[in-house]
């Protein structure tokens, strides 16, 4: 075992085109980044290309990694998250012959050689909220999220709104992990979930990154239910996780890479419910095998499907909390 999983096929030069993926943080505990890397690898495979993954740790290493990538002159540089907004304003302009892809965010008026893929995860979270609103017996739901930042409010606020839309009596209490290691403090996330349970909350949205497992374990011990994010987390704690607000970053990357390799780069693609870029595990075709609790509530799912259709058709518009 080499223990080198963050970067694969390194050093393979050959004649294959190269894709460099730069993450804003260590991939480590982050499901979203893991999925991004997997998606990039899948996309590369589809295009018969090589992949290198550069993990950044801080703003300086982000720029350093970007510069190193540019020096390598790969076919495509994939940057992930809003941390690259400032850099994606200038780098594509300075390197007009290099193709860039930014996932999950985009600067205003992106350059021609920058392709963007953005997500409306709040739409999926809203649907999760609808499920919680229909399911809650105590009319009290909550959320445990990593940090109190506008971007992360995309996983909390719509949850409450979705619930209230179907059950106006519902109260919503979000808690934020914070502390010294907000994205990887499962014990603290666990304690916060417990706090919510003591307040009488019976459905909790878990958006605490590595802390999610802590929330699920608190739910299991405390007899309440939780929602996962990004990927299907139902298997982590069978019988506890109701559903997941998923974000198909792999799909987005595969589409974008294909577009670039097909010579059709540029533009901003929004991935919402409509584009199947975000969604709920319970609404997927193979939901039955997902292990999620929601599959035992077909009535709720039916109602949620209605709401999804409203959103897809544009009849219902979910507010983006980060835009506020």
């Amino acid at each position: 075992a080499t223990g080198c999983s963050s970067s694969s096929d390194s050093g393979a030069s050959g004649d294959k085109p190269l894709i460099v993926v730069i993450t804003p943080n260590p991939v480590g505990v982050n499901e979203f980044l893991k999925l991004s890397v997997e998606g990039s690898k899948a996309a590369a495979k589809a295009q018969d290309a090589d992949v290198k993954v550069y993990e950044s740790t801080d703003p300086t290493s982000i720029s350093q990694n970007l510069q190193a990538a540019i020096d390598l002159k790969p076919k495509l540089i994939v940057t992930i998250s809003f941390s690259f907004d400032d850099l994606m304003k200038t780098a594509p302009v300075d390197n007009p012959d290099q193709q860039f892809l930014q996932v999950d965010s985009c600067p205003e008026n992106p350059a021609k050689n920058l392709t963007c893929a953005r997500f409306k995860e709040y739409e999926a979270v809203y649907l999760a909220g609808v499920e919680a609103g229909l399911l809650t017996k105590k009319n009290a739901i909550g959320a445990v999220a990593a940090l109190d930042s506008p971007f992360i409010h995309r996983w909390t606020d719509p949850f409450g709104e979705g619930a209230k839309s179907v059950n106006p009596k519902t109260t919503f209490s979000p808690l934020f992990v914070g502390g010294n290691n907000p994205f990887s403090d499962p014990a603290r996330a666990n304690a916060q979930a417990d706090t919510l349970a003591q307040k009488g909350v019976d459905y909790v949205m878990a958006a605490a990154s590595a802390g999610n497992t802590g929330v699920f374990q608190a739910a299991k011990a405390g007899g309440f239910f939780a929602f996962g994010v990004d990927v299907n987390q139902c298997g982590e704690a069978p019988g506890v996780v109701v559903d997941n607000a998923t974000k198909r970053v792999d799909v987005a990357i595969e589409n974008a890479v294909k577009a670039v390799f097909d010579g059709k780069p540029g533009g901003v693609t929004e991935y919402g419910l409509k584009e199947n870029g975000v969604g709920l595990t319970g609404l997927e075709d193979d939901a039955a095998s997902s292990g999620c609790v929601i599959t035992q509530h077909p009535d709720v799912l039916a109602k949620v499907k209605e709401v999804r259709d409203q959103i897809v058709s544009g009849k219902l518009v979910v507010k983006d909390p980060a835009a506020a």
């Binding site: 080198c4 993990e55 703003p59 720029s63 350093q64 907004d85 400032d86």
Partner: protein, 361 residues
């Protein structure tokens, strides 16, 4: 004033133990020893150590990486000096993160208030940042004097609310609306630190950091203040007895320490990406690295310089190594840790030998 540093005798004595020559003499063998440890680590990870080290060196020296070395060097050096100043008088300022962040957010706030003043305006902002951090750090002195809270504890405890406060400011009142990120708006172009010809990352900040070190060097070696600080560090009661105003010196040292940390924060904000981003000053661990460097160097100016270069090189080179040959970050941490451990052990063994050679038990 006796409560100013109840831990002093042990701490100061401990630092003194790592005698002067032993430190410089140990640097090279320690580096070699840790490279050996690193090689073993690399081998267990299935990487050829030579490939690994080649990547490490390339990560440092490759011309495109040098600017980043310089970029990370300035804050590490700044934080090392910040910690070293009170260390000279035997006090530990463990609130570096808070002071760094206060300096950064204050500079950003002031700069936002005077957007049209240009670089001079940023000068004002940086001074404001340094002043805010200095005040916060110096608060430890009255807390020690009247509240009997040792400096090492009060600075540590005061650091966290400062970080939270800055985070709050970046999240709410000073936030750059619409970005979804807790960050302040980008500084106007005229306030960006002028880059040296090499790269946007090698800017005036590097010059300022080196000047701060030079100032520390001069004060430490050539002024009465430096002598007084060293005297207090060696023996507080002796210092009081010869008529050194301990309260004043402690206030001065902590304020200077805070000011250097605050200035460092301001300089980071005025470099790319030219704004205060919540967490961006803290997560790289400049403070922690600075503390490590200053402790290894026992606060000696030359040691601060050498230690900062070494640790920056290891960090930047480590990123390069990870990128180029796919050696995971954790291995970089292991190699850095072995540098620290082998270094102190070799210093200790050497000091031990010279003690036994001189006959002391």
């Amino acid at each position: 004033m006796a409560t100013l540093a109840p831990d002093r005798p042990t701490v100061a004595a401990r630092l003194r133990r790592a005698g002067g020559r032993a430190v410089t003499g140990a640097a090279l063998p320690a580096l070699l020893a840790s490279l050996v440890v690193g090689a073993i680590v690399l081998l267990t990870a299935g990487t050829n150590p030579i490939t690994g080290y080649e990547a490490l060196v390339r990560g440092v020296l490759l011309d495109t990486n040098l600017p980043y070395l310089a970029a990370a060097f300035a804050p590490i050096l700044g934080m090392a000096v910040s910690f070293a100043i009170p260390l000279r008088m035997g006090e530990f300022n463990l609130g570096g993160d808070g002071q760094l962040v206060l300096g950064g957010i204050t500079a950003a706030a002031v700069a936002m208030a005077i957007p049209s003043w240009g670089l001079a305006g940023f000068g004002v902002a940086a001074v404001a940042g340094a002043a805010a951090a200095a005040l916060w750090a110096a608060l430890a002195v009255p807390l020690a004097r009247y509240g009997r809270v040792p400096v090492i504890i009060s600075t540590l405890l005061l650091g966290f609310p400062a970080v939270s406060f800055a985070s709050y400011l970046a999240r709410y009142p000073l936030t750059d609306k619409g970005t979804g990120i807790p960050q302040t708006p980008r500084l106007p172009d005229a306030m960006h630190l002028p880059a040296l010809p090499v790269s946007a990352y090698v800017n005036l900040g590097l010059v300022v950091a080196v000047l701060v070190l030079a100032a520390y060097w001069v004060v430490d070696a050539r002024t009465g203040t430096g002598l007084q600080l060293r005297t207090l560090g060696a023996n507080l009661r002796f210092g009081q007895y010869v008529g050194i105003d301990v309260g004043r010196r402690a206030t001065g040292a902590l304020a200077a320490s805070g000011a250097v940390a605050g200035l460092t924060g301001a300089l980071i904000v005025a470099g790319p990406p030219y704004r205060f981003i919540d967490g961006a000053l803290v997560t790289p661990g400049y403070t922690f690295t600075g503390v490590t460097v200053a402790l290894i160097a026992s606060g000696r100016p030359a040691g601060l310089l050498a230690g900062s270069v070494l640790f920056t090189a290891l960090q930047v080179g480590g990123t390069g190594m990870e990128r180029d040959v796919g050696i995971p970050r954790q291995l970089t941490a292991i190699i850095q840790a072995s540098v620290v451990i082998t270094f102190v052990l070799i210093v200790a063994v050497r000091a031990y030998r010279s003690r036994t050679r001189a006959g002391a038990r």
